[in-house]
């Protein structure tokens, strides 16, 4: 059966609750501020939002359910998406179907997390049963050690170098320089990148995201509703999600996008060459390489060559992670999983925090999450299009 399209659905009101390295506020606070910002920018009342998609690591012991009472809302459609870095793309496609079917009229999608001084350690120390049993007792490096394995394996398999990864990190830093809430706003050069302190060989400091507190959010509603509210919006050409792809690969070298990319572009009716702006999930540069390859911008193993003669900044020929991504802005927990969607929406509705990509019509946001044991299990992606009006 052919997949339905996303006709009539609008994505709008990109919201970011500014990041901070540490915060005494709770995840509920970040969700609440995101909702307040969403309704104020949309010009609607709180109870007009009748659907919620929520992702957070630090709402514990609450889930999205507890949040409804906390924030005094009575939605008729509620989803809690515990998929970390992949949650944004998944929230978007679920919310879109809810709106399309009439199960909800306005869905608020939000990824929000706080970061107290010991939050990150506690999160990774109790991340999953497999991680508790078979990863964390091995050096307790958290995601650093997992991505070090993937990076080491990829480098040996395809001959990529640290300079190749450095190009990504440096371009993202340049993009972040104009973004007010970015955690890291000093320019980065190759020498600094290569000589930074070692974290987990072959990863060094600037290969690793900095955990922080913050939130990313957006609204999904019908195009009619967005027009009646006079909101700039984008439409959805296609979305995908996949979990635990390629379990037979001994070390992760590709992920779910590689399963679904053909269907993705066919559904969207455009190809990778038509993408004007690309947001990749970027807690470590290795995963950006995998997305560039698995989403069809180049063949497997050729990401280094692909980016070598391209300019990845907002003003370049391959605008990529245009707000600096998590590597420069920080990783606001599950907010990091929504960052790509929100920044794509900003670019397509002229609401950027930093520099705008000129004439961007098609944006691709890709998401990745949940190192359950030795690899990330969840992938999602979406292609958004600037509205015709």
């Amino acid at each position: 059966m052919r997949r339905h399209n996303y006709e009539g659905v609008a994505v709008c009101v990109p919201v970011t609750v500014p990041y901070s390295r540490y915060s005494l506020k709770s995840a509920h606070w970040f969700c609440g501020r995101a909702l307040a910002d969403l309704i104020s920018k949309a010009g609607i009342e709180k109870n007009e939002v009748d659907g919620f998609c929520v992702s957070s690591f630090t709402l514990n012991p609450d889930s999205a359910v507890g949040l409804t009472q906390h924030l005094g809302v009575s939605p008729r459609w509620l989803d809690h998406i515990p998929m970390g870095g992949a949650a944004g793309g998944v929230a978007l496609r679920r919310a879109a179907r809810a709106v399309q079917s009439g199960d909800a009229e306005i869905v608020a999608c939000m990824g929000a997390d706080t970061n107290h001084v010991d939050t990150f350690r506690q999160t990774i120390a109790t991340f999953s049963q497999f991680a508790n049993d078979a990863v964390y007792p091995y050096g307790s490096g958290g995601p650093n050690s997992s991505f070090a394995f993937l990076t080491d394996y990829y480098m040996r398999e395809y001959g990529a170098t640290r300079e190749d990864f450095g190009k990504i990190c440096i371009a993202q830093r340049e993009n972040a320089l104009d973004v007010p809430h970015a955690m890291m706003k000093r320019p980065l050069n190759m020498e600094q990148y290569l000589n930074a302190r070692i974290i987990a060989e072959p990863l060094r400091l600037f290969d690793c995201v900095m955990p922080c507190a913050g939130a990313e959010a957006f609204l999904v509603m019908s195009i009619e509703r967005a027009k009646s509210l006079d909101l700039d919006y984008a439409t959805i050409l296609s979305t995908i999600e996949r979990h635990n792809a390629f379990p037979e690969d001994p070390v992760q070298i590709r992920a779910g996008w590689a399963v679904d990319a053909d269907d993705f572009y066919e559904h969207a009716g455009i190809g990778p060459e038509d993408i004007d702006v690309f947001q990749a999930y970027d807690d470590y540069p290795i995963i950006c390489f995998m997305q560039i390859e698995d989403l069809g911008f180049c063949a497997k193993g050729e990401a280094a060559a692909f980016i070598a003669d391209r300019n990845l900044t907002t003003q370049g020929d391959f605008p990529y992670n245009t707000s600096g991504g998590q590597l420069s802005a920080g990783q606001a927990g599950a907010g990091g999983g929504y960052l790509g969607i929100v920044e794509t929406l900003r670019q397509l509705t002229d609401q950027t925090l930093g520099k705008a990509v000129p004439n961007a019509v098609h944006g691709l946001a890709s998401c990745f999450g949940m190192i359950n044991y030795d690899r990330g299990l969840c992938t999602s992606a979406a292609i958004l299009k600037r509205s015709a009006a």
Binding site: D133, A134, Y138, S140, G141, D152, Y153, E201, P250, V251
Partner: protein, 413 residues
């Protein structure tokens, strides 16, 4: 190549001793299946009884056919190292104190990819040999070494944290007057122990075994009577902070049961030596050993009890003796829990009847003391937690697991 371990320097008395910390110990019930395998020195993984798929990490449902019939089966320990990293940052205090820390992903010959602690000499792309070891928190972990043992492999500082190697450590053998005591002294000397303290009770009673020990190098014979609180306290005050491996080989065997030999004095002596003796040793030596669990590369590591296999099930021919062994075994589990806070392991060896004057009437097979000692020390080095020695002990433990009622009734024959 792994650097040869250098003997410890003299300790700086002003410097604060590193406090014991533990690697993360939060494990699922399923993962403790691995601990059971590691404790008995096996390399076993869950295997599906229906489709034969080998599973890792441990779980309750086969990831291939969804069967719940997963059994622990010995599997090949071979694999290939696919990816590696060296951590210079860790979120956990135990590892922070011990950086750099080397890790790898090994694809096992039997299928799964396994995150491992990695020996220094392993090379990416090459074959490795895995083992299930027990970490300082007392839980199973997988380590990988080069396929063929490399020179100085045992000196790998990172893996030494998960082993209980006597090399360059100081040992106290509680009873030097038995033939097994002599064998243990020799075995620990062969294993590279830096110093061997040997206890001597009742100095008026001459023992040829102790005389032989006296001729060995790096041996100090010390007065120690486990039935005398003052004696234990005095020795602990003298050498307590130097004991890195405690060997409780107290031995007092007299044959007889309850009705056939009604003798409270014998029963009292057995309890005094095996049970109260362990209490005294634990109370005096336990605290300082626990505090020195992280004291450098040569800190205290293990408390070894040599028990009779009849600690598991009462042999009516040795009725009160068996009971005193069972009491001591139970106590050892308490000691294990308390020493675990310092990362010090309690290891129990269970021996069958030994070829000596007190076992004259025990039918063969009987154990040769020297070989028994070598096997005990070998198992300690391998990190095995419960060590059955000899056919009699192995059979008792197996029968206890299979059907305790059967062995209860059959053992008297």
């Amino acid at each position: 190549m792994t650097r040869k371990l250098s003997p410890p320097k003299r300790k700086n008395p002003i410097k604060r001793t590193r406090l014991p910390t533990m690697p993360p110990g939060n494990r699922s019930r399923e993962a403790h299946g691995l601990t059971a395998m590691a404790a008995s020195g096996r390399f076993a993984l869950q295997t599906c009884e229906e489709c034969e798929a080998v599973q890792y990490p441990p779980r309750q449902i086969c990831s291939n056919c969804l069967s719940d019939a997963l059994e622990w089966r010995d599997v090949s320990d071979g694999g290939t190292l696919l990816a590696e990293t060296t951590l210079l940052h860790s979120n956990d205090l135990f590892f922070r104190d011990r950086l750099p820390w080397r890790l790898g992903i090994v694809v096992a010959d039997v299928g799964p990819s396994i995150v491992v602690h990695l020996a220094e000499d392993c090379v990416q792309g090459e074959r490795v040999r895995m083992s299930l070891d027990i970490d300082r928190a007392g839980h199973a972990i997988v380590t990988a070494r080069t396929e063929k043992p490399s020179t100085n492999e045992e000196d790998d500082l990172q893996l030494r944290e998960m082993k209980f190697n006597p090399k360059d450590r100081r040992v106290l053998i509680v009873d030097g007057k038995t033939e097994l005591g002599l064998g243990l002294a020799k075995a620990f000397a062969d294993a590279g122990a830096r110093k061997i303290f040997v206890g001597e009770a009742q100095p008026w009673r001459v023992s040829p075994h102790l005389e032989e020990i006296r001729k060995m190098e790096n041996v100090n014979i010390m007065p120690l009577d486990v039935t005398d609180s003052d004696s234990v306290e005095e020795l602990a005050a003298m050498i307590g902070d130097k004991v890195e491996i405690m060997v409780n080989n107290s031995y007092h065997l007299r044959s007889g049961g309850l009705i056939d030999r009604f003798d409270l004095n014998v029963a009292h002596d057995e309890m005094e030596i095996h049970y109260h003796g362990l209490i005294r040793l634990a109370g005096e030596f336990g605290p300082v050993m626990r505090a020195r669990g992280s004291d450098g590369h040569h800190g205290s590591v293990a408390w070894l009890n040599v028990f009779s296999a009849y600690a598991w099930v009462n042999n009516p021919a040795l009725g009160t003796y068996s009971a005193s062994q069972a009491a001591a075994l139970s106590l050892s589990h308490c000691l294990r829990a308390e020493l675990a806070e310092g990362g010090v392991r309690v290891v129990n060896a269970f021996i069958g009847p030994i070829e000596d004057e007190w076992n004259q009437l025990a039918p063969p097979p009987k154990l040769v003391p020297e070989a028994t000692a070598t096997r005990i020390v070998g198992a300690l080095k391998k990190g095995i937690e419960d060590i059955p020695i000899g056919a009699v002990a192995e059979e008792i433990i197996q029968r206890m697991v299979e059907n305790p009622k059967e062995i209860e009734r059959a053992i008297k024959s």
